[in-house]
């Protein structure tokens, strides 16, 4: 287990290295560790500085109704809204709710797919955070027959 101090030192060193190689994307936001530690949709939105999330039919979450293997659950998140800053994928009952955060630019569509681990049956969320800080979400229940978090 790394202490917070070590982690900070480490990431500072890495950032320094990247800055010298010129690989560090200028507009990239710092890795938001706090957002990956909280347990609910509302807390994640807060950690990212967004408003209270509102359910919206313009946001779509895709995934299986029943996942046989919780270690690999294909999930998609997309929205038809414009002015999207970030797209998030969350699994409510995981030890930390947030699975992935995508920073959207004008050059990509607000449509992402990935695979997530799920410890147990749970609601999954797609969240769109807009440039003005508003947050919209869609949710779907995925039943897991075999948990994917091991232990």
């Amino acid at each position: 287990m790394q202490t917070r101090r070590e982690t900070l030192k480490h990431s500072a060193a890495v950032a320094g290295l990247l800055a010298t190689t010129g690989l560090f994307p200028q507009h990239a936001l710092a890795y938001n560790k706090a957002a990956f530690e909280v347990k609910s949709l509302a807390e994640v939105a807060k950690a990212l500085g967004a408003g209270a999330p509102v359910e919206s039919k313009d946001v779509t979450i895709g995934g299986p109704d029943i996942a046989e293997n919780g270690a690999v659950v294909p999930l998609t998140a997309s929205t038809t809204l414009t002015g999207v800053k970030q797209i998030l994928i969350l699994v409510e009952k995981n030890p930390a709710a947030m699975v992935a955060l995508f920073n959207v630019t004008d050059a990509v569509e607000a449509n992402f797919a990935t695979r997530a681990k799920m410890g147990q049956s749970s609601d999954v969320y797609a969240v769109a955070i807009m440039n003005d800080g508003k947050a919209f979400f869609a949710k779907k229940e995925v039943k897991v027959t075999l948990g994917g978090c091991g232990g």
Binding site: M1, H10, V14, L23, P25, H27, A28, L29, Y31, N32, A35, F36, A71, V72, V73, P74, T76, V91, N94, P95, A96, M98, V99, A100, L101, F102, N103, V104, T105, D106, A107, V108, E109, N111, F112, A113, T114, R115, A116, K117, M118, G148, C149, G150, G151
Partner: protein, 103 residues
């Protein structure tokens, strides 16, 4: 050093769908080994994608992304022959960059 990523980028109209398979353990830090000790977390936490050298998408990931992660996204304005490159970094500071050509 981690194995190369498999990247496929297919153009359709004025956009291209990019599919990436990365090779990574994605250890969550929740799992215990046979001796009952926690296996330390080891996962990709930052991903970025570039189109002809310009960053078009960045992502932050937690340990809940599956082992050997899959990622799909759509790049607007990409056509056949363009270069798509993907870079990831994990929480131990390892990183890898691979490039593919849009077909």
């Amino acid at each position: 050093m981690a194995d190369p990523m498999r990247i496929r980028a297919q153009a359709a109209g004025d956009k291209a769908t990019v599919r990436v398979l990365m090779s990574h353990e994605m250890e969550s830090g929740q799992r215990k080994d046979s001796a009952g000790k926690l296996v330390p977390a080891h996962f990709i936490n930052e991903v970025s994608a570039s189109h002809n050298g310009k960053v078009v998408m960045t992502a932050d990931w937690g340990p809940a992304v599956s082992k050997n992660p899959f990622l799909q996204f759509v790049v607007k304005g990409a056509k056949a022959g363009d270069k798509i490159s993907i870079n990831w970094k994990d929480n131990k500071g390892e990183s890898r960059t691979d490039e593919a050509t849009v077909s």
